[in-house]
Amino acid sequence: MNNQFDDASRAVADAHEREWAFVLAATVRVADDIDLAEECVQDAYVAALDAWRRNGVPHNPAAWLTTTARNRALDTHRRNAVLRRKLPQLVDPTGDAAPDVVRIEDNIDSIEDDRLRLVFTCCHPAIGREAQVALTLRLICGLSTAEIAQAFLVPEPTMAARVTRAKKKISAAKIPYRVPESAELPDRLDAVLTVVHLLFTTGHTSPAGAQLVRSDLVIRATSLARMLHALMPDEREVCGLLGLILLTDARRDTRVEPDGRLLLLEEQDRSRWNRELITEGSALVVQALSGGVAGRFAIQAAIAAVHAEAPSYAETDWLQLLGLYDTLLGIWPSPVVALNRCVAVLMVYGPAIALAQVDQLDASGKLAGYRYLPATRADLLRRLDRFADAATAYRQAITLTDNEAERDFLFRRLAEVSP
């Protein structure tokens, strides 16, 4: 009995982590309202704990949860329809009669996968980027508002307002619940991938706090990318994003010392990089690059693959990296990419030429306030033995950095160049 009790709790927790998006997406279709769907799905998980403890875990937990949540949504619609009949003067009488309750046993294996619709709704261009990220975490990953607020280091009421406003816009402006048609798919998919990538980079190097890496966000982003890849296996940019994430995350354990000290790429113990992730990521890069012009995630993944496969920092194919950065800049002229390219310029042409290019970027003002610009400048000045200028640039970088591991690193370097 006790065993069944534990099994049920575990199964519910497991289903929350794995099936939340599936269950919610299938319920939104019936509920026709995100808030109602969320409420019904939450109720279904509560009901599951009780029912599964008594009767055992069903063979398809996702189907059980979906059917239960959908039935609750239909019940609510039916109650509202009754209310409409009783109070005809108060509301629009044209509401459709609610369909019959779905019977669990009829429906167990035939629930359509609506997760893509939900993803595209969360990442609709009419919703601001920050709200897209928050909605994705809330609706696809099933995180609470408090958890999302904590992940992005904003007060909970701020995050709650952001989520509420976005959900209100979805319903008031009638943002459709559908996968875009092929003509608009590339743009709309890019927005989805950008959100997942933003989530990953926020976890990979936390913008603030004591830890360099926020593993919780990295894990969420990875599972989102895996989900997208499972649902759209032929989309090359999806392969590119998943490849980029896996190849970058393969280094996670070697990026900090046990005491939290940050280690640069050239200092990391490459024998401890995760070979399994590198193999999987590299195969995805091949797929992402084959056939037609490669997208920005494919090329970024290729850059990550060159690093992952290099036997050492010195033996890295910097010329190939420079070529990849040039290609990337050609299709995606971002100043951040231009700055990253300067590291390859340094390794191929030396610090003086790299510094000239960084200074040019600095003068353009496009990266004002971006901490890695003064940090890169400082490093190049240090290599050129211009220690006083390097110290100024390190101080500038420190004022822009809120992550403690990064700050510690910059302070160490500052001490090295100070007399």
Partner: protein, 115 residues
């Protein structure tokens, strides 16, 4: 006869925070306003409440962004009232709308009867 669009600018915060009584008052005032127009010899062609600016979407050179069109250099120069199945269709129409010196804002009509 000439045609004019009368644009009502009000504090959204005040409107959204108003009590049901105040809202009823406002609604009655609008009804009275509509009745008074013919007495002046003018005609009302149409009118609507708009959802709050938080529901607005802007389109500028095909780029869709969240929020109302805010650009002090540009003034509201015209409007179309359209019917569309959802925001995607409305945005597709908006992208076709000529606005070479600026852009357009898409704001859902507020169906006050539905709340």
């Amino acid at each position: 006869m000439a045609q004019y669009l009368i644009l009502i600018y009000e504090s959204e915060e005040a409107y959204l925070g108003a009590t049901p009584e105040v809202r009823q008052d406002i609604s009655a005032a609008h009804t009275r306003f509509a009745e008074q127009i013919p007495t002046l010899g003018a005609t009302m062609l149409g009118g609507n409440a708009l959802q709050p600016t938080a529901t607005a979407t802007s389109v500028r050179v095909d780029i869709v962004t969240d929020g109302p069109f805010v650009e002090t250099k540009e003034a509201l120069g015209g409007y179309y009232l359209i019917e569309a199945t959802d925001l995607d269709q409305a945005l597709a129409v908006a992208k076709l709308c000529p606005a070479r010196f600026g852009g357009v804002e898409v704001r859902p009509i507020w169906d006050l009867a539905a709340g």
